[in-house]
Amino acid sequence: MIDHLPVLLVVVPVLGATVPLVASLYTDRAGWGVAAATMLVHAVLAALLAQQVRTGGVVSYAVGGFALPYGIELVVDGLSLAVVALVSAISLGVLAYAGQAGPHENSFYSQFLLLVAGLTGMTVTGDVFNLYVFLEITGLAAYGLVASGREASAAVAALKYLIIGTVGASLYLLGVGYALAATGTLNMADLSTKLAAAGYDSTLVLTAFGLMVGGLSVKVALFPLHTWQPDAYAHSPDSVSAFISALVSTVSAYALARLLFSVFTVEFLTAVPAARWALVAVASVSIVAGSALAVSQSNVQRMLAYSSVSQLGLVIAGFAVATPIAVLGATVHLVGHAVMKGGLFAASGIIERETGATTVGGYAGMGSRTPLAAGSFAVLALGMVGVPPAIGFVGKWYILVGAIEAGLWPVVAVLLLSTLLTLAYFARLGERLYFAEATIRDEGAVADGGEHTDGGTTVSTGMLAVVVLAAVLAVALTAAVPALEQLLTDTLPPLLQ
C-alpha cells in the first residue's frame, strides 16, 4: 500500500464522497462522520507520504502502471508535499468548525470530500491535462458549496463563479492544447524538455503560456480577474468561505507555480523577459488594487476577500521573481496566507454568530464581548500585516529579499506599499474591535441570528478551538520555515539553482 500513497490520497476522498449520498437513504446526518473519518485517513496518508519524501526524496507514481510519459504521472516533491499537508490540515480544521456551524446535509459533505479530492489531485499530478481534470472537479465542487448558502445571493454568487471559473478553466485547456500541438506530450517533466526543444520563441509555446497562465489567474483571482471572488466568499456559509478562501485560490496559485517551474521552467522566464514582466506587472497591480479595494470595504468578509486578491498577488510576485529565496518566501506565504485567511473567515463567522456584527462599523467594541474570537482575529490580522514573528512576516520578508537580490525595485516598492495598505485596513478593524464604543446592543445577536437556522447562533468549543489554533499556527509555523527550506532545497534542485 505504501507504494500507492500518491494515488490513494486522491482516491480515498473520492470514495468517501460517495458514502454520504448512499447513506442518505437511511439518515440525513451521516455526512459529518464520514467526512471526518475520510479526512483522518487522508491525514495519515499525507503523513506517511511526508515521511517517504523526507527520507527518499521525490516520489513519482505511474497511474495504472502505464509507461511514462504516456501514462498519467503523479509527482510529490517538497512543494507539493507542503500543499498536500496544508489541504489535509485545513480540511480537518474546517470539519471541526462545520460540526456545529453547519451545513449538516449529507450532500454538503459529499461535495466537501470531492473538493478535497480535486485539490489533492491538482497538487500531486504531474500531467497538465490531468491538472485540468482536477481543476474542473475542484471548480464544480466549489460552485456547489458556494450555492449551499440559504440566501438567493449565494445562488447568484455561485452562478457567477461557475461561469467565470469555467471560462477560465477552458482557456487553460486551450493552452494545454497548444502545448500538446507544440510538443506531442502532456507529461510535465517531458514537456519541460520538449518545450525547450520547440524553442521558447515559438508562437505555439508562447500562446500556450499565455492561455494557461491567463486561465489559472482567474482561479487564483488576480486583479482584474477576481470579480467572482468577493461574492463567492461573502455569500457562502461560514464553513465554506473559510474552506475555499484558505484552499481554492491557494492550490491554484500552487498550480501556477508548478507550471512556471516544472513545465515552462526558469529558463523560459529568462529567455522571454516579457513573460516575467507581464506576471510581475499583473501581480503588482493585484497587490495594490486588492489592498485599495479592501480598504474601501465596509463588510468585513468582502474586505477579507479583497485582501486575498492582494496577498495572492504577493505570492505570484514571489514566484515570478523566481530566485530561490523568493520562491521559498512565496511558498511560505502561500501556506501562511491559507492558514491565516481561513482562520480570519472562521473568526468573522464566530463574531457574527455571537454579536451579529458583519461590518467594520458593527465590529466596534466587540473585542470584549467575544474575547477569544476577537483576540484570534486580531492576532491573525497582525500576522497578515506581517508583524514579526508571525508567518506572514517571514513570507513577505523572503519575497522582499528575493526581489532586492534580483534588483526588481518596483516589486520592492509595491511590497512596502502593500504592507502599509494592509496595515490600514486591519488597523481600522483592530481599533474598532478594542478601542471603540459598541454600536450593537447586546440583544442584537439574538435578533440578528435568525438566518442561521442550521447552526443557530451557538458557537461550539470546536469552532473556537479551530480559530484559536489558526492564530497559534500563524505564529508557530515560523518555526517550521527552516524545515520547509531544507525540504525545498532537497527536492527542487533544478528550480532553486
Binding site: 447568484v156 452562478l159 492561455l211 512596502l416
Partner: protein, 593 residues
C-alpha cells in the same frame, strides 16, 4: 565576557512585566513597574560593554544585545524616567492597562537602543510605534483620531527607514552596525539615496520641520500620565537612531536641527494649551540634539547625548507638572488658569526648576548640555552662510531658540502660576506625584551643579584634549553671562510681546495643509478606483441582468440581483467579468507574441 547580565536582552523581561502589570492589582502592578525600572537602570549601569547574543535571524546576522557608551546612556536615562513615570502614573489614577501599554512602550524602547544591527533596531522601532499608538488610543475620545494620524505618520516613517535599511543591506551585505565585530567597514547608512531615505524616515520620529505635526497633535490628547511616557521615548530613540545612521554627521541635518530649535520655540510661544506648548518644545529641544548629531564631531555628539539625558529629565518633569495642573483643575488652557503658585507650591517649584533647566539657566542641567552643543557649533563647525559677529550660523540659530525657550516658559509660568488669583480651592500634587516630581527636579539641579557626574556618562570625555577638538568648561564667565543674558532678553522680549501674543488666535501650523492633503489624497484614490469600477459596472449591468434571467429561475434570482447588486456599485457583473477576462488574455497574448 558574557555573564549573567547578558543572558537575555532587557526587553524580554520588561515585556513580561508589562503583561503582569495589566493583570496584577493596580498597586502591586505599579510597584512592580517601579522596581523593574530601577532594576533596568542598575542593569544598564552595570552591564559590561560589547556585542552579545549574536544569532542569525531569517538567515541574517543579528545582535540582540549591543552595549556601547551610547546605548548605555540611553538605558540609564530610560531606567530613571521609567521609575518616575510609573510612580507618577500610579499617583495620577492611570488604569493598569494604560500603564501596561506604557510599559511595553518602555520595553520596546530598551529593545531598540540595545540592538546591534539595523534589523533588530527596526523591529523594535516599529513595535514602539505600535505600543505608543495603543497607549494613545487607550484614552478614547479625541485621542483616537489623533492616534490614527500618529500611526499613519509613523507607518510611513518606518517604511522609509526600512527602505533605507534594505538598500544599505544591498550595498554592504550585512545588517550589522559598523561598531559591532564582524560589521561593515563603514558605520552608518550608505550615502546617497539610502541616507536620504533614512534621514526622512528617522526625521519623522525626531520631528523634522514639516514632519513634526504629529507631535503637538498627539501628545496633548491622552491621559496626563501617558504624556509623560510619550514625551520621552519616541523622539529620543529617534536621536539615537540618527546617530547610528549618521555617525559622522551631515551638514544638512545640523542645519535642520538649528531650524527645529527656532521653529519649535516660536510655535510654542503661540500656544495656550499647556501640553501643546510643551510638545512644540520637544521639537525645539530635539533640534539641539539633531544639530549636535549633524555637526558630527566628538564634542557635539557628546553634547547631543548629554542633551538627550538632561532633556528627558526636565521634559518629563514639565509634563508631570502640567499633568498635575490638569489633574487638579481639569483645565488645559493657560488663559483660564493663573495664580496657582500660592495653592500649588510644590508643583510651581518643580515647574520653576524644569523651566530654568530647559531654558539653560546657569546652575541647571540644561545649561551644561546646551552649552556643549553650542560650543560644538562654535568651535567645530563651519561658519555657514550667515555668520553674525563671532557666531556661526548654526550657533546663533541655537541661541535664538534659547531666547524663544525663555520667552515661552516665562509665559507658561506667568499665566499658570503667577498672574492674578485662582478662584476656588485647588490642592497641590498628591504624595506620589510630589515624590516623582521632586526626585526628578533634584536630578535636574544635581546634574547642573555637578557637571562632572554628567560628563562621566557621556560617550566622549569632553574634558580630555585627546578626545574632543575643544575642551569644554561649563562654568566660565562668557558661558554664565551668555546664559543669564539669554534669560534677560527672553524676559524683556516677553514683556514687550505679551500684549500682541495674547491677542493672537490659533496660529496655523502646516498640519492645517497636511492633514486635509493626506485625507483627500487617500480618499481621492479610493473614490477614483471605486468610481472607475462603478462606471464600467453601470454600463454592463443591464446586460448582466438579462443574462442571469435567461439561465436561471428568474423569480428568486432577480430579487438577489436587484437587492444585492444595485446596492453595491463595486461589484462587477458576470458579463463584465468575462469581457475583462477576454481582454486580459488577449492583451497577454499580444504582449508575448
Amino acid at each position: 565576557m558574557a555573564g549573567p547580565l547578558t543572558t537575555a536582552p532587557p526587553v524580554v523581561a520588561l515585556l513580561a512585566v508589562s503583561v503582569a502589570i495589566a493583570f496584577l492589582p493596580r498597586r502591586v502592578g505599579h510597584a512592580l513597574g517601579v522596581v523593574t525600572s530601577a532594576a533596568a537602570l542598575a542593569w544598564a549601569w552595570a552591564v559590561p560593554g560589547g556585542a552579545f547574543l549574536r544569532t542569525t535571524f531569517l538567515g541574517f546576522d543579528a545582535v540582540l544585545l549591543n552595549v556601547d557608551p551610547f546605548s548605555r546612556l540611553m538605558g540609564v536615562i530610560f531606567g530613571i524616567i521609567g521609575v518616575a513615570a510609573v510612580l507618577y502614573s500610579h499617583a495620577s489614577e492611570a488604569e493598569s492597562v494604560q500603564t501596561a501599554f506604557a510599559y511595553s512602550y518602555v520595553a520596546t524602547s530598551f529593545g531598540a537602543v540595545f540592538a546591534g544591527d539595523w534589523l533588530t533596531l527596526l523591529f523594535f522601532w516599529e513595535l514602539m510605534a505600535v505600543t505608543s499608538t495603543l497607549l494613545v488610543w487607550h484614552h478614547r475620545g479625541k485621542a483616537v483620531r489623533a492616534g490614527y494620524r500618529y500611526a499613519v505618520f509613523h507607518g510611513i516613517g518606518g517604511t522609509l527607514l526600512m527602505a533605507a535599511i534594505l538598500q544599505n543591506y544591498a550595498i554592504k551585505g550585512t545588517f550589522l552596525f559598523g561598531s559591532v565585530p564582524g560589521g561593515p567597514e563603514t558605520a552608518g547608512i550608505a550615502p546617497g539615496l539610502p541616507a536620504a531615505l533614512a534621514a526622512v524616515g528617522i526625521g519623522v520620529n525626531v520631528g523634522f520641520i514639516g514632519l513634526h505635526t504629529w507631535l503637538p497633535d498627539t501628545y496633548p490628547r491622552p491621559h496626563v500620565a501617558a504624556s509623560v511616557f510619550l514625551c520621552v521615548f519616541t523622539t529620543k530613540t529617534g536621536v539615537y537612531g540618527m546617530y547610528r545612521a549618521f555617525p559622522d554627521g551631515h551638514v544638512a541635518i545640523a542645519y535642520m536641527g538649528g531650524g527645529m530649535a527656532v521653529f519649535g520655540a516660536t510655535f510654542a510661544l503661540f500656544q495656550n494649551d499647556m501640553r501643546r506648548l510643551l510638545s512644540y518644545h520637544i521639537q525645539s529641544q530635539v533640534g539641539y540634539m539633531i544639530a549636535g548629531v549633524g555637526i558630527g564631531t566628538a564634542l557635539s555628539q557628546a553634547g547631543a547625548f548629554a542633551h538627550v539625558f538632561n532633556h528627558i529629565l526636565y521634559k518629563g518633569l514639565l509634563f508631570m507638572t502640567a499633568g498635575v495642573v490638569v489633574y487638579r483643575t481639569g483645565e488645559e488652557n493657560l488663559k483660564k488658569l493663573g495664580g496657582l503658585a500660592r495653592q500649588m507650591p510644590i508643583t510651581a517649584g518643580a515647574f520653576g526648576v524644569a523651566a530654568l533647566s530647559i531654558a539653560g539657566f546657569p546652575g541647571f542641567n540644561g545649561f551644561v548640555s546646551k552649552g556643549i552643543v553650542i560650543d560644538g557649533a562654535h568651535y567645530t563647525f563651519a561658519k555657514g552662510p550667515l555668520p553674525i559677529y563671532e557666531w556661526t550660523t548654526l550657533e546663533w540659530l541655537l541661541l535664538l531658540g534659547g531666547v524663544g525657550t525663555f520667552m515661552s516658559f516665562i509665559k507658561f509660568g506667568y499665566y499658570a502660576f503667577f498672574r492674578g488669583e485662582y478662584d476656588g480651592d485647588v490642592a497641590d500634587a498628591n504624595r506620589g506625584q510630589s515624590v516623582a516630581m521632586v526626585g526628578v527636579a533634584v536630578l535636574c539641579v544635581f546634574y547642573g551643579l555637578s557637571d562632572g557626574s554628567l560628563f562621566a556618562l557621556l560617550p566622549f570625555d569632553v574634558t580630555d584634549e585627546a578626545v574632543v577638538e575643544h575642551v569644554y568648561h561649563t562654568y566660565t564667565v562668557p558661558h554664565v553671562v551668555e546664559g543669564v543674558l539669554l534669560g534677560v532678553i527672553g524676559l524683556v522680549a516677553f514683556a514687550l510681546a505679551k500684549k500682541p501674543l495674547s491677542k493672537l488666535g490659533r496660529v496655523p501650523d502646516i498640519d492645517t495643509l497636511l492633514n486635509p492633503a493626506v485625507f483627500y489624497g487617500t480618499r481621492g484614490l479610493v473614490v477614483g478606483l471605486t468610481e472607475l469600477y462603478a462606471a464600467a459596472d453601470r454600463a454592463t449591468v443591464g446586460g448582466t441582468r438579462t443574462f442571469v434571467n435567461s439561465v436561471t429561475n428568474p423569480d428568486t434570482v432577480y430579487e438577489g440581483v436587484v437587492g444585492g447588486d444595485s446596492s453595491n456599485p463595486l461589484r462587477a457583473g458576470i458579463g463584465l467579468s468575462i469581457l475583462v477576462l477576454a481582454v486580459f488574455v488577449t492583451a497577454v497574448l499580444l504582449l508575448l507574441a
